[in-house]
Amino acid sequence: MKQYLKNTFDGIYTVLVGMKITFKHLFTPAVTIQYPDVKVKLPDRVRNRLYVNMDDCIGCDQCSRACPVSCIEIETVKSIPGEDLGITSNGKKKALWVTKFNIDIAKCCYCQLCVFPCPTECIYMTDVYEFAEYERSNFLYKFATLTDEESAQKKINYEKFQAEKAAAAAKPKPETPAQTENKSE
């Protein structure tokens, strides 16, 4: 009987305690924001969409090798003497034409492993996070600045140069341009 009355009392009392708490919260200001209208300020280290500053990329392929999901695809063609590719902002001399620099952002897991090894700090994560697409193919971001014809031209140039060099040395060197080998998952 005592337990019975205690249960009744506990039941009502704890409910009232809970109601008091929720009632108090009825008047505390909301902690949520109206998202598309109001946006939170993201911290500066935030990891979202990748961006590659192609002016600085030397095509060293380190980012691609660091990526655990192999979503960066890089193809490069060596430049021939006489071509000036400029230097990067931290003073490295570029020697490779980057004919292909694709990031499949749909595969990317935003781990940031590609960012750290880059010698010129040209691949980095931005604070853009709203980039939904209707087509999956749109997620293949192509960063290479050269057009297809240009890269084809560069390839031909290089092959020509190789052939010339081979002819000059009469002893061809078996060398192919550095290429990314993509392990498929």
Partner: protein, 371 residues
């Protein structure tokens, strides 16, 4: 005269509001009474262990994030400790301190989700939102530090990906001050609510010997009354420097080892984590968090097993190295996987509604179970 009736098989999940992901429970029921429960797993299988064999050691870390995605810091922690053991490297003090603060913050965040979902499964949706509000705060601390909210890839072999943000210490202290009243509020609103007690006390009692036999760990084991905590039993990192208690289930409102005990152990653990953070936050030594990161991670041949106390229990990594850049084998001892085993034992003789309460109190994460 007993009426001859058929039992009914009810599939709970993989699409069900409270199976915490994609678990499928096959319930054999008679009316609402449970005769047997069979968990079916594998809907979230992502071949983590096979993947790891094709990755270099640092590349595995983002994958470990995705095991127990509610406690990614803890997962990183276990993995890097294992590899560091294999490499035999010393890591700077600063790194140790930051790692411990992160792991404890993560423990709070993870327990918040566990408590919140346990409450929400039983029908209390409001505490859920309050606790998620505070979890957001922790996630913002992480975001500020490493840029990600859930899958951090923060702890690296030999160091950390980023040093802490200049504001981190201040904001963490703010969080502690702000968070203590939340625990009290939670206790008033949910923990000691009569209905909640009725729903969880004396439900799903896990006796201590059964818990040990099944290999349960974490709050599930401690809820049964055994103060087993890897942080104390097998101190890794610098846990032996801190003063904290190991809360166990006492059967305060029911029997030792019931759902309420498992739940309450988590509430008490949050308080202990706060204590550890408080002890660590002011003593972070100066140093460079990148200094001990090896240029090339190529451990010698050998095997290693390292375990950490993740929010869900003992998380162990068994790594075999054949001296290459890739691990030969990475095996994960996932606490949720082991803890889920007791499900069938706990549910017998209870009602359908209790399955939800029991599952909530076991606090499983499917990412870790299916890997």
């Amino acid at each position: 005269m007993a009426l001859k009736t058929e039992t009914m098989v009810l599939n709970m999940g993989p699409q069900h509001p409270s199976t915490h992901g994609v678990l499928r429970l096959e319930l054999e029921i008679e009316g609402e009474l449970i005769l047997s429960v069979k968990p079916h797993i594998g809907y979230l299988h992502r071949c983590f262990e096979k993947h790891a064999e094709a990755m270099t050691y640092p590349q595995v870390i983002p994958y470990t994030d995705r095991l127990d995605y509610l406690a990614a810091m803890g997962n990183n922690f276990g993995y890097v400790i294992a590899v560091e053991k294999l490499l035999g490297i010393q890591i700077p003090e600063r790194v140790e301190y930051i790692r411990i603060i992160m792991a404890e913050l993560q423990r709070i965040a993870s327990h918040l989700v566990a408590i919140a979902t346990n409450g929400a499964d039983i029908g209390a949706l409001t505490p859920f939102l309050y606790l998620f509000r505070d979890r957001e705060y922790i996630l913002s601390l992480f975001e500020m530090t490493c840029g990600a909210r859930m899958l951090y890839n923060y702890m690296w072999i030999g160091g950390l990906s980023h040093d802490i943000h200049p504001d981190f210490v201040r904001k963490t202290k703010e969080f502690i001050i702000h968070f203590r009243p939340t625990i009290i509020e939670l206790n008033n609103l949910l923990t000691f609510n009569k209905i909640f007690i009725e729903r969880t006390a004396n439900i799903g009692i896990l006796p201590i010997d059964t818990a040990i036999n099944f290999g349960a760990s974490g709050p599930v084991l401690r809820g049964s009354g055994l103060p087993f905590d890897v942080r104390r039993e097998d101190p890794y990192s610098i846990y032996n420097r801190f003063d904290f208690e190991i809360p166990t289930g006492k059967g305060l409102v029911g029997t030792v080892g019931d759902c309420w005990d498992r739940y309450y152990v988590r509430v008490l653990e949050m308080e202990q984590s706060l204590r550890i953070i408080e002890q660590a936050i002011d003593n972070i030594p100066e140093g460079d968090v990148h200094s001990a990161i090896p240029k090339r991670i190529k451990p010698p041949k050998g095997t290693v097993y390292a375990r950490v106390e993740n929010p869900r229990g003992e998380l162990g990594y068994f790594i075999i190295s054949d001296g290459n850049l890739n691990p030969f084998r990475v095996k994960v001892r996932a606490p949720s996987f082991v803890n889920l085993e007791v499900m069938g034992e706990l549910c017998k003789g209870h009602l359908v509604a209790d399955v939800i309460a029991i599952l909530g109190s076991l606090d499983i994460v499917l990412g870790e179970i299916d890997r």
